[in-house]
């Protein structure tokens, strides 16, 4: 009989992270979404320096002029260049969405971890409170927040963050329950790990993949909420261009037949949210292969 000497240490399965990355890169729709997001981000960052017009300078000789070579996307009711405003608005809308999602994610993770790792009674109280929070409409929250101080970017960020942490919190709580059943948690307890170290070093890193999916989709949701609020004049201060503000200003312009003032900001919102959701879908299918759809 032949004996082949194979050292078991030589046979190494692929790293989990590398496998996930490869699966994500095979997802074609996620490619499209990622490419779209990349283009939008680059446009928001370098675009304003490439456009000759300023986002704030009005030109009363060119009110409501349609798309032309000098104003590619036309001008608004004060003759301001729509392309310049759209690009400047991208910076505002995207950074507000990103910051609000960070606020919501931190809050949600902390809440879910405390509920999942704390004593049983605290878990019950926190989850009941979360259900109650889910019953409050976002708009109500926003209108109440109007009572507190001037509208500012910071306030919009905090309000959107406070309105959208619940999904992350619930996911984190579920992941705690799932992971706390794992043997490596028991093994860590045997190694003297404290409750805090279990939460931060054992549970949180292992919940990173599903959290990433929720956070990604959350950015898209935040773009939508920001647009809605700004459209209603409850969001970003009207002195700053944001996609929602542009859309809100455009409403009255529709009556003058200036369709471009509404169409382009609306398109930007739709395309951005679509791209983010495609990336989110790609991530979800990577993390949870059972739900993968072949496209």
């Amino acid at each position: 009989m032949d004996i082949v000497n194979v050292n078991p240490a030589d046979v190494k399965p692929a790293s989990e992270m590398r496998r996930l990355l490869r699966a994500f890169l095979r997802h074609r729709l996620a490619h499209a979404g990622l490419l779209g997001l990349l283009l939008i981000t680059v446009a928001a960052l370098v675009g304003p320096t490439l456009v000759h017009h300023s986002a704030q300078t009005s030109n009363l000789d060119a009110i409501y002029s349609g798309p032309s070579w000098s104003h590619l996307l036309g001008t608004d009711q004060l003759g301001r260049d729509l392309l310049a405003r759209l690009l400047a608005g991208a910076q505002v809308s995207l950074s507000v969405a990103l910051a609000a999602t960070i606020v919501a994610s931190l809050l949600g993770c902390l809440y879910g971890l405390v509920a999942g790792m704390g004593p049983v009674w605290l878990d019950r109280v926190l989850m009941q409170f979360l259900d109650a929070m889910l019953a409050i409409p976002v708009l109500l929250l926003v209108i109440v927040s109007q009572a507190f101080g001037e509208s500012s970017l910071l306030k919009v960020i905090v309000v959107i963050g406070l309105a959208s942490w619940m999904g992350t919190a619930r996911l984190m709580r579920t992941e705690c329950g799932r992971l706390m059943q794992s043997e490596f948690i028991n093994a860590a307890i045997m190694g003297g790990a404290s409750r805090l170290s279990l939460a931060l070093r054992h549970v949180l890193p292992n919940a990173a993949a599903p959290l990433l999916v929720v956070v990604t989709v959350g950015i898209g949701q935040a773009v939508l909420i920001e647009s809605t609020l700004s459209f209603l004049n409850l969001g970003v201060p009207s002195t700053l261009p944001s996609w929602g503000n542009l859309l809100g200003n455009g409403m009255s312009s529709m009556l003058s037949g200036a369709w471009w003032v509404v169409l382009f900001p609306g398109l930007m919102i739709v395309v951005t949210v679509l791209c983010i959701n495609l990336v989110g879908d790609g991530l979800r299918d990577t993390v949870d292969p059972k739900r993968r759809t072949h496209l």
Binding site: A9, E16, V120, Q181, E183, F184, M190
Partner: protein, 284 residues
């Protein structure tokens, strides 16, 4: 043989799980004891409550939905009266545990070495370098090939058998007086199983710790255990010396278990009245 004080004394242990409105009696008034250096096998089919016994001994049961009754004494101390720091002094350090699934007994996002070093530092208040030395020595003691490399590996980079041996090395490094082995070979292939059992037997002899081997594999229990407990539906049906229980089962369920053991015996072996093979189990 001189009667020693038991190291572990489980008295009338009951564990109940609440599932919605219902309640499942996973463990029903189970009593047994383990003397220092003794190896006890706990056998039964899956769902018989074997693992719940081990988890109760270490206080690892999910507090959300379980009720525990009875008493567990370890080295004369009532474990159920332990506070958090009391548990921390017992878990790992005085009672070690080898888990069922080798890959999942290490955190997938930290290296095997980091986890061993962390546990050693915590329990013995060692410096990092010293803890590393001890972890390496422990890996060498269980015959791990290239221990330096394994320290830098993640659990998923090792085979099941190597993971389980790394887990065994960690348990040993903490020098417990009692080791609970919960289905230590269940998820290994036959060769890795044989290898692990060999190391387990060797190290138990060398270190002389007491051990509770939980398994449905009667061959494993026969190979390692001095005493056997048979569990079914949360109850302890039979207990006694391994040779006696396996050769001459008193309870019909034990007999049934023995008959269910897969055999690899040829016809001529069966006619041979070999005393060491009874009911397909190789007796010690």
């Amino acid at each position: 043989m001189k009667k020693m004080n038991p190291l572990l004394n489980v008295k009338q242990l009951s564990v109940r799980y609440a599932t919605g409105a219902d309640e499942v009696r996973a463990v029903d008034e189970v009593s047994f004891s383990i003397r220092p250096g003794e190896v006890v096998g706990l056998v039964g089919e899956s769902g018989s409550g074997k693992s719940s016994v081990a988890q109760a001994i270490l206080g690892l049961l999910d507090q959300h939905n379980t009720t525990i009754a009875g008493r567990i004494e370890f080295d004369g101390e009532n474990l159920f009266s332990c506070d958090e720091s009391g548990w921390n002094a017992v878990r790992g350090r005085r009672i070690g545990m080898i888990f069922q699934s080798p890959e999942s007994s290490f955190n997938p996002v930290a290296t095997v070495g980091a986890q061993m070093v962390e546990a050693l530092r915590w329990h013995f208040k060692l410096a990092k370098v010293e803890a590393r030395q001890r972890a390496l020595a422990a890996l060498r003691e269980v015959g791990m090939p290239r221990p330096e490399e394994v320290m830098h590996n993640y659990a998923f980079e090792l085979s099941g058998g190597m993971c389980q041996r790394a887990a065994l090395a960690l348990v040993m490094a903490l020098q417990p007086a009692l080791v609970l082995a919960d289905e230590p070979t269940a998820s290994l292939d036959v060769l890795a199983q044989a290898e692990l059992v060999q190391w387990l037997a060797l190290i138990q002899k060398k270190r002389g710790f007491a051990m509770l081997v939980i398994s449905h594999d009667l061959n494993l229990v026969a190979r390692l255990a001095d005493q056997v407990l048979v569990m079914h539906g949360g109850r302890l049906l039979e207990k006694g010396a391994t040779r006696r229980v396996l050769a001459n089962p008193q309870h019909p369920y034990t007999e049934q278990l023995l008959r269910a053991v897969p055999r690899l015996i040829t016809a001529d072996m069966r006619t041979h009245n070999d005393h060491s093979v009874k009911n397909g189990v190789v007796l010690p």
